[in-house]
């Protein structure tokens, strides 16, 4: 007999609509406070403007919350959507779910793009998107059964705490003998006891015969989920074929899908080997280019970094075809089998670890001064199992470690823990404390912005120093790239709508390594085009990796290699073939521009979204300490002399560092001007009325938000 109980408190039957050209054309609305379940049609205007995926999510969230809604209010919604192309099993990278909510870290709209089967199964069950509001008084499981066309809310007792066990139990419980038909979304105790919780989305690994998971990591979405009293969402769907999405032109879809799929199979082994080593190849490449964050982003390289590189993980990963969606030939979702943790509740037991990917290796490895690959694996495992975002955990702990090493905090604050960089056991202990909501881990789990307030306010730390070295912007912890030597990537992080995550713009190679964009105007153009096109993937339920991580052999001979023009054309054909909406690559960018500007205005609605909110900590811009300056003195001295025409003769390191700061901060400010102008925004970073009219988002409530903020 199972130790848990699931008691049905509400069931509704519904008639599943036929999917047409990638759309179900209805959304699911659940208020868990009163077990209210509603199904609403999608208006044609909504479809035309917001396309799907993140666009639908943001529109639902916009209508769910008010300007004064906070993340833990019942009105806050968690919205999950696929997209019109989502669930296509023959085109690589077509199984993503996009999640939005008001973030406990940024207090504004957060979005996350995640693998696993949930989004596609939700759509095939009849819903382009779902919205969950309210708060449950008991732990609640929501079951969407697309096969039997019913939705249930269940009171749960006795279910496992960790996502690792919970996913397995619920997959087994609802599978009816076919576990591949199930996808589970859950958080974990870490999500409940911190503000940096993630969501785990499962996909069933038929070869290894257990549920695997991917994470919607950023911004504390898992924390909102746990705060609502949600234990899990479960969706059940049947076989998926190219017909399930009912594409407008199946022949064209098959033709273009075959081209892209076969190209990946042919070229990935010659390029980054993502089907073998995932994204771990980036570790040594970033290290060699001084872009791998080490010791809280002080430096960009370390002699021991190869210990965390692909040569090690190549041997640790369990070989197999590891796609987080059916038929994806990128197949980068690798894992480690029979890993035995040294600490925590799974100590001594064999577990399967999903990952690590580059971000986790850098965040929970080099940035903490930890160069033991197995410690990174253990941190990865527990973060996932507890429902914690590995990026915020890594960047947050790195900040605390630097504060400890600088003497800004000490053992009286850390509960006796030695937080020196490289202390593996302390790092693991902090993660266990985060899950329990205890000790110094509980403080780190509040995120860097709140740590700064506490360290300065309660512990007497120097507020100016911690403002410089605490790697957050808009309240979100930085993902794992060094930006000091790339002004464009400083913009990529600082101007990103949700905070410093690289999914909007990753320009390090273009800007720093290749120097393809030396002028402000070129950087501004890149900071317009790349966020716009990359947004499009989340509108459609796609992964962006097939676009520019495996590149056509003749791409280097094209006019704009960074855009991978051949793939842009393929994506336009893909969109046209599924939706029947004939589109060019320019049309795809235009779709994104609409949603991108809407999200900026959403930030404004919530009290953010202005120039002052696009500020970066100086550690992201240049050397904070004399030690950092001196570690790359030749580089900085040369820049001062040649780029800025400064006479540095006789100047001390402190004087040169201060000059460098002034000059670099001026550059970043000028970059903001150039980007805002390119995007059609005011100098304060607000879309103009002309821009919102051009984009057809001049709704009354949008214009009202602009007016309140002085734009009319």
């Amino acid at each position: 007999m199972p130790k848990y109980k699931l008691k049905v408190v509400k069931t509704i039957d519904y008639k599943r609509p036929e999917i047409k050209k990638g759309y179900a054309d209805q959304t699911l609305h659940i208020d868990i406070s009163n077990a209210d379940i509603a199904i609403k049609p999608v208006e044609q205007k909504t479809k035309d403007i917001f396309v799907g995926g993140k666009g639908y999510d943001l529109w639902l969230l916009w209508n769910a919350v008010q300007a004064d809604t906070r993340w833990n209010d019942p009105q806050n919604a968690i919205c999950i959507a696929s997209g019109p192309l989502g669930g296509t099993p023959i085109y690589p990278g077509s199984g993503k779910s996009i999640v939005t909510t008001l973030s406990p870290l940024t207090e504004s709209a957060m979005d996350s793009n995640v693998g696993g089967y949930f989004g596609p199964y939700l759509k095939f069950s009849g819903f382009d998107a779902m919205q969950i509001q309210g708060k449950a008084s008991r732990e609640t499981v929501i079951f969407i059964d697309g096969i039997n066309q019913k939705i249930q809310m269940l009171d749960a007792t006795g279910l496992p705490q960790t996502a690792y066990e919970l996913s397995a139990v619920l997959t087994d419980h609802f599978a009816d003998g076919k576990p591949r038909n199930i996808s589970v979304v859950s958080a974990g105790p870490g999500a409940k006891n911190t503000l940096i919780g993630c969501l785990n989305f499962t996909w069933y690994d038929a070869k290894r015969k257990h549920a695997r998971y991917k994470q919607a990591g950023r911004g504390g979405i898992g924390t909102v989920f746990a705060d609502k009293g949600l234990k899990a969402l479960v969706v059940r769907w049947d076989t998926v074929t190219a017909d399930t999405n009912m594409p407008a032109d199946k022949t064209k879809l098959k033709d273009v899908a075959k081209l892209h799929s076969r190209e990946i199979v042919a070229l990935d082994p010659k390029q980054n080997e993502m089907a073998r080593i995932g994204t771990t190849h980036l570790v040594t490449i970033m290290n060699d280019h001084d872009c791998l964050p080490t010791h809280n982003f002080r430096y960009g390289s370390h002699p021991q970094a190869p210990n965390l590189g692909q040569e090690v993980y190549r041997r640790l990963f369990d070989p197999g075809f590891d796609g987080c969606w059916m038929g994806c030939t990128v197949a980068c979702s690798h894992g480690i089998k029979d890993f035995v943790p040294l600490t925590g509740p799974f100590k001594g037991q064999k577990v399967f670890v999903d990952g690590p990917e580059y971000e986790t290796v850098a965040g929970c490895g080099s940035n903490l001064g930890i160069f033991d690959p197995l410690t990174v694996v253990e941190l990865n495992f527990y973060c996932d199992a507890y429902g914690l975002d590995t990026i915020s955990v890594g960047t947050g702990m790195a900040f605390a470690m630097e504060c400890y090493e600088m003497g800004l905090i000490n053992k009286t604050h850390t509960g006796g823990l030695d937080l020196s960089f490289g202390n593996r056991l302390s790092a693991l202990e902090l993660v266990h404390q985060m899950a329990a909501g205890e000790g110094f881990g509980q403080i780190i789990g509040q995120g860097i912005r709140k740590m700064k307030e506490k360290f300065a306010g309660d512990f007497g730390a120097d507020a100016a120093v911690i403002a410089d070295i605490g790697m957050e912007a808009k309240g979100l912890e930085f993902s794992e790239y060094m930006t000091k030597e790339s002004l464009a990537q400083q913009g990529g992080y600082g101007l990103a709508l949700k905070g410093p995550q690289h999914d909007e713009a990753w320009l390090i190679f273009l800007d720093m390594v290749h120097n393809f964009m030396p002028t402000f105007e070129q950087k501004a153009e890149a900071l317009h085009w790349f966020p716009m096109f990359r947004t499009w993937f989340s509108l459609c339920g796609l992964c962006k990796l097939p676009w520019n991580d495996i590149i056509p052999e003749d791409n280097k001979d094209t006019a704009e290699p960074a855009k991978v023009i051949k793939h842009l054309q393929w994506y336009a054909e893909y969109f046209s073939a599924v939706t029947g909406r004939t589109s060019s690559p320019e049309d795809l960018v235009a779709m994104s521009e609409v949603v991108y500007n809407f999200q900026r205005i959403f930030n404004l609605k919530m009290g953010y979204g202005r120039r002052m909110h696009d500020t970066l900590p100086y550690r992201a811009v240049g050397p904070v300490t004399e030690l950092e300056y001196e570690s790359r003195a030749e580089r900085y001295d040369t820049q001062l002399k040649e780029k800025y025409q400064v006479d540095i003769e006789g100047k001390t390191t402190a004087e040169k560092a201060a000059l460098m700061r002034q000059l670099r901060e001026e550059q970043y400010d000028k970059l903001k001007d150039a980007v805002y102008e390119r995007r059609g925004w005011t100098p304060d970073g607000i879309p103009t009325v002309e821009t919102v009219k051009r984009l057809s988002i001049d709704f009354e409530e949008v214009l009202e938000v602009l007016k309140v903020n002085g734009v009319q």
Binding site: L282, I285, D288, F509, H514, E553, N555, K556
Partner: protein, 66 residues
């Protein structure tokens, strides 16, 4: 005394570096990363990384990514 580069056979010599190889082949792309068998080498190390005989070299056209 040969290496394979992007499916082409190229003659090899002792102490041949990646920079030597890129100068030798007819390809103007500004490669930032190449792979020697299973080892990734980045541009800052092209001058000091020698290629072993019989190696297979992959020229990685990394321009964006992330």
């Amino acid at each position: 005394m040969m290496i394979k580069v992007a499916n082409h056979i190229v003659s090899w010599h002792e102490e041949m570096t990646i920079t030597d190889l890129l100068n030798k082949i007819d390809d103007a792309h500004p490669y930032a990363v190449v792979r020697i068998n299973e080892t990734y080498v980045s541009r800052p190390n092209f001058d000091k990384t020698t290629i072993p005989d019989n190696a297979e070299i992959f020229l990685i056209p990394m321009v964006a990514g992330g």
